[in-house]
């Protein structure tokens, strides 16, 4: 196989519209190992990005020794992302956590499970005793665990402890996708299928650098682009990403102005009659109001707000408006920016206006940033309720209470579950006193890191960290629990296009490390959590039991898993939910009949005002009589909370690099991936660099109102007035003596979208100054 660091997307296998995407099997094995020398292949899928690529793990002498893409899988047809090809080596890293750690005399020291769990349980009991005890608990989980683990955690938190303070790192990556889907279509759940790439005649990528974030999906798009009758391509991104270079039209708009652009595009779609009047009349609500609001955004005004050419806005509208099978994908350029939910809803509006849903090629992906984020959402381990239920619908709460055999009042449902940034705020104020962080690294990934470190270091906050390495967050914990990871435990997870995969245990975890599921089950047992009849609250004790428990919870909901079993997932490969006894092969596309999940008894939300997040009531929702129609939401453009000034004249955007995932806990320990991009950098437009006297490679300081970082400059690749820093880089791999601030989130601000509560990472005002060596 060719060098996938040099060429992350590998060789092209072109194909035409309606044809099957050719198979290309990507394999990487440990040095000197041939496929014939592999002892066993074990079924799995990727957890280093959200594409859900199926693969098999090679085992040699009881160790993971490589991976091979699964040719028969509907998602990847054999291909793998470079992070998967090389990232498995991190499992074998010598600095894995192998024993629990506890803080004694200010230092973390090695301990044993009884001592570590004993401390967690003792503190938990103390806190739970007394009225309002539930409110001292916060659970902050991840987008990297398995469905069975999330669901177990959700039951512990919601039915055992009874706390609404449960969220995950998914709030940073995928909350807006969920919010926008709920707002427009009634519930979460991705309408489209990856196979829409095979059929579409236009692809619009909205703030989505798919070439870096889901490389295999990008390979599929590139293969269409190199084949006969390729789809047209539109990229909306302030950076000149590989996607922007490939696209026929690139709109490098000013950060924080997505809503204005979309309003302008929808106005042109309506004015030029490029919308499907029959579809709109039959299947949507809110057209008049949408038409009224977007009418205020003629191309000249949009061009001014977004710093684009009016003619380009018109060209983009034509590309979108004249396509016959339009595929849209949306990601962090929208989700982590100003007016996140409003702007993501406008992409839904585009597809509703044009009737571009529910048929081959007419697809919409509100993407996920993390591999198992979909499951965090489905199971309610984050700010949702299990089974995509509505917190404000008493009948939905009754269903959960019956399922878990607990009092309805135990399950917090007086408000939406507490969002991550609010949980951290309660911890800062001292009312959350126990924060359990599983499989994520907020000391690098959250905004305004100085504040996050301050909170984690508070004396009155008991911090439990469950992870596979001693991360920047683990360093600040009171108890560290060593976890098993992918390849060392069994469970399922689901990707963006609702494809469920089984990932089986291939090898034993190192030392005393345990599967996350076993850690949660151990906690539930030690806490003696019971149902209303005195039976153990959680009746299962293994992954398959948890999966069966989840199936019962999912029954009748959009994410219905009742037609799936471990055996079935072992027999074939990925299967898309809903999968029921009536639809045993799963469901490729949702809303094929134009009937949406907006029935008041079924929907996941009664809706929110997009500008403030104000919740509508059940009565108000019913009065709109949605009757299966989707909502066209309208919103005016509002400038972002932080704009440039004389002191901070540039706009910082953060994002990903193709070789790294999240905070590099794994990819930073895979030699090829680490060597590909070992350090962070800041991208600057050549004009901005010249004005500041900065040359390529010069060390510079980037300063915001929150803090400063020192990184080398890279010239080019971004629009004038904007700078980019990848967010992956923290401090674990730097000698403590030589550490200088370098994490992008030292600079970002604490602010979030009013509806999805997703933090705004894409618009922080900064200044850049050259560092002159020897003058300090």
């Amino acid at each position: 196989m060719d060098d996938r660091i040099e060429n992350p997307w590998g060789e092209r296998t072109p194909y035409g519209p309606g044809e099957r995407w050719p198979t290309r099997v990507d394999t990487h094995l440990a040095d000197g190992l041939a496929e014939s020398g592999v002892d066993r292949w074990v079924r799995s899928a990727s957890i280093l990005h959200s594409n859900g690529d199926a693969m098999d793990i090679a085992v040699k002498d009881g160790r993971i020794a490589g991976v091979r893409g699964r040719a028969t899988d509907r998602v990847n047809h054999g291909r793998l992302d470079p992070k998967d090809l090389y990232g498995w080596q991190a499992n074998n890293s010598p600095d894995r956590l192998t024993r629990p750690l506890v803080r004694d005399g200010g230092r973390l020291v090695e301990s044993d499970w009884d001592t570590a769990m004993g401390r967690v349980v003792a503190r938990s009991r103390e806190l739970l005793d007394g009225p309002g005890g539930w409110g001292h608990f916060g659970f902050y989980t991840s987008g990297q665990l398995f469905l069975e683990e999330y669901y177990t955690l959700a039951v512990i938190g919601k039915a055992g402890i009874g706390t609404p303070h449960m969220d995950g790192n998914t709030r940073l990556c995928t909350a807006t996708a969920a919010s926008a889907l709920k707002a427009s279509f009634g519930t979460d759940g991705q309408p489209g299928s990856y196979s829409d790439v095979d059929h579409c005649d236009a692809i619009a990528l909205w703030g989505h650098n798919v070439a870096a974030t889901q490389t295999v999906l990008w390979m599929r798009m590139l293969d269409r682009r190199r084949g006969p009758n390729p789809p047209a391509m539109l990229a909306v991104d302030p950076r000149t990403t590989p996607v922007a270079r490939e696209a026929d039209l690139h709109l490098a708009l000013r950060g924080g102005t997505n809503q204005a652009l979309l309003n302008g595009l929808l106005r042109l779609i309506i004015h030029n009659g490029w919308y499907d009047e029959r579809y709109v009349a039959a299947h949507t609500l809110g057209f008049e109001e949408l038409a009224r609001v977007v009418d205020g955004y003629p191309p000249d005004r949009v061009a001014r707000i977004c710093d684009l050419k009016a003619a380009d806005v018109e060209r983009a509208a034509e590309l979108l408006g004249t396509s016959h099978r339009l595929l849209s994908t949306v990601l962090q350029g929208f989700y982590q920016s100003n007016q996140a939910t409003a702007a993501a809803c406008q992409v839904n509006n585009l597809h509703l206006l044009r009737g571009m849903l529910g048929r081959a090629g007419a697809g919409l992906y509100q993407m996920n940033g993390q591999p198992t984020a979909q499951n965090t959402r489905e199971t309610g381990a984050d700010g949702d309720l299990p089974g995509l239920r509505n917190w404000d619908n008493p009948a939905h709460i009754r269903e959960l209470a019956r399922l878990w055999n607990v009092d309805e009042m135990t399950i917090p449902h007086w408000s939406p579950p507490t969002h991550a940034m609010q949980i951290w705020r309660y911890a800062e104020q001292g009312s959350v006193k126990l924060l359990w962080i599983s499989a994520t690294n907020p000391a690098v990934s959250l905004p305004d890191l100085a504040r996050v470190r301050r909170i984690l270091s508070k004396d009155d906050l008991f911090v439990v960290v469950q992870d596979i390495f001693r991360t920047e967050t683990a360093e600040l914990a009171d108890v560290v629990l060593p976890a098993a990871t992918w390849g060392e435990k069994t469970g399922t997870f689901t990707n963006v296009d609702r494809t469920v995969h089984l990932s089986e245990k291939a090898v034993e975890p190192p030392g005393e490390a345990r599967a996350d599921l076993d850690i949660f089950l151990d906690y539930a047992r030690r806490m003696d959590l019971r149902d209303r009849d005195g039976r153990p609250l959680i009746p299962w004790d293994d992954p398959e039991g948890a999966f069966e428990g989840w199936k019962a919870c999912s029954a009748g909901r959009p994410c219905d898993y009742t037609g799936l079993t471990y055996e079935k997932l072992r027999g074939g490969s990925g299967i898309q939910w809903p999968c029921t006894p009536d639809r045993p092969a799963g469901t490729e596309r949702l809303y094929t009949d134009g009937v949406f999940h907006t029935d008041p008894d079924y929907c996941e939300t009664y809706g929110q005002d997009l500008a403030t997040g104000a919740e509508y009531t059940a009565e108000e929702y019913r009065a709109r009589q949605p009757a299966g129609r989707a909502f066209l939401h309208a919103a005016d453009y509002q400038p972002s909370p932080e704009v440039t000034s004389d002191d901070y004249p540039l706009l910082l955007t953060t994002g990903r690099d193709v070789y790294q995932f999240h905070t590099r806990t794994k990819t930073g320990r895979a030699p090829e991936l680490n060597a590909a991009e070992p350090e962070p950098w800041v991208e600057l437009h050549p004009d901005d660099a010249e004005a500041l006297g900065i040359a390529d490679g010069d060390p510079v300081e980037v300063t915001s109102r929150r803090g400063a970082v020192r990184v080398p400059a890279r010239i080019g690749g971004i629009r004038r007035g904007a700078v980019f820093i990848p967010f992956h880089y923290g401090y674990f791999d730097v000698d403590p003596e030589k550490r200088v601030p370098r994490a992008a989130n030292e600079l970002t601000l604490t602010a979030w979208d009013p509806v999805s509560k997703q933090p705004i990472f894409k618009v922080a005002a900064v200044r850049v100054t050259p560092i002159h060596e020897g003058r300090e």
């Binding site: 309002g132 409110g135 939406p416 104020q429 001292g430 500008a611 104000a614």
Partner: protein, 152 residues
């Protein structure tokens, strides 16, 4: 005709609410959503007050002197802490409720006066005031259990 009195009352209520929103934004800066949304909503109140200007002028000639007791004083500065935030949001809620009922009263008067311009202004603005009330209620509902039952 006493419409000018109520326009004055409403104008004052909008100006007071804008000022109170800005004070709450300032003193609860550690609650980023509160700070941001209060500032945004204050601007909406500013626009409401501006929009009332021409109508106040239109009806002032016909107005006898405005009785002072029509002005309300619901806000006497911000507080700190979790319960302080709750109390401040509740004050804002009551002030927005005063605006809300004033829009209703002025809207009725606009019907009686056959004043289409005023009626249109009322219809635009009362929608935005209703959202303010709804947002404050949503935020109060979220904050109440933690502030009243959990925090020490």
């Amino acid at each position: 005709m006493h419409l000018a009195h109520y326009l004055g009352l409403l104008h004052r209520a909008q100006v007071n609410l804008a000022g109170a929103l800005r004070q709450v934004a300032e003193s609860h800066g550690d609650e980023p959503d509160i700070a941001l949304l209060c500032r945004q909503q204050a601007e909406i109140c500013d626009r409401h007050a501006e929009r009332l200007g021409p109508f106040a002028e239109r009806y002032s000639a016909a107005a006898p002197d405005e009785p002072d007791r029509l002005h309300s004083e619901l806000f006497r500065g911000t507080r700190t802490g979790g319960i302080g935030l709750l109390r401040d949001l509740q004050d804002l809620y009551l002030m927005a409720a005063e605006c809300d009922i004033c829009w209703t009263v002025v809207g009725q008067a606009a019907q009686g006066a056959r004043d289409r311009d005023l009626l249109a202004a009322v219809q635009d603005c009362e929608r935005e005031t209703a959202i303010q009330l709804k947002w404050l209620r949503t935020r109060l509902k979220q904050a109440a259990p933690q502030a009243l039952v959990v925090a020490s």
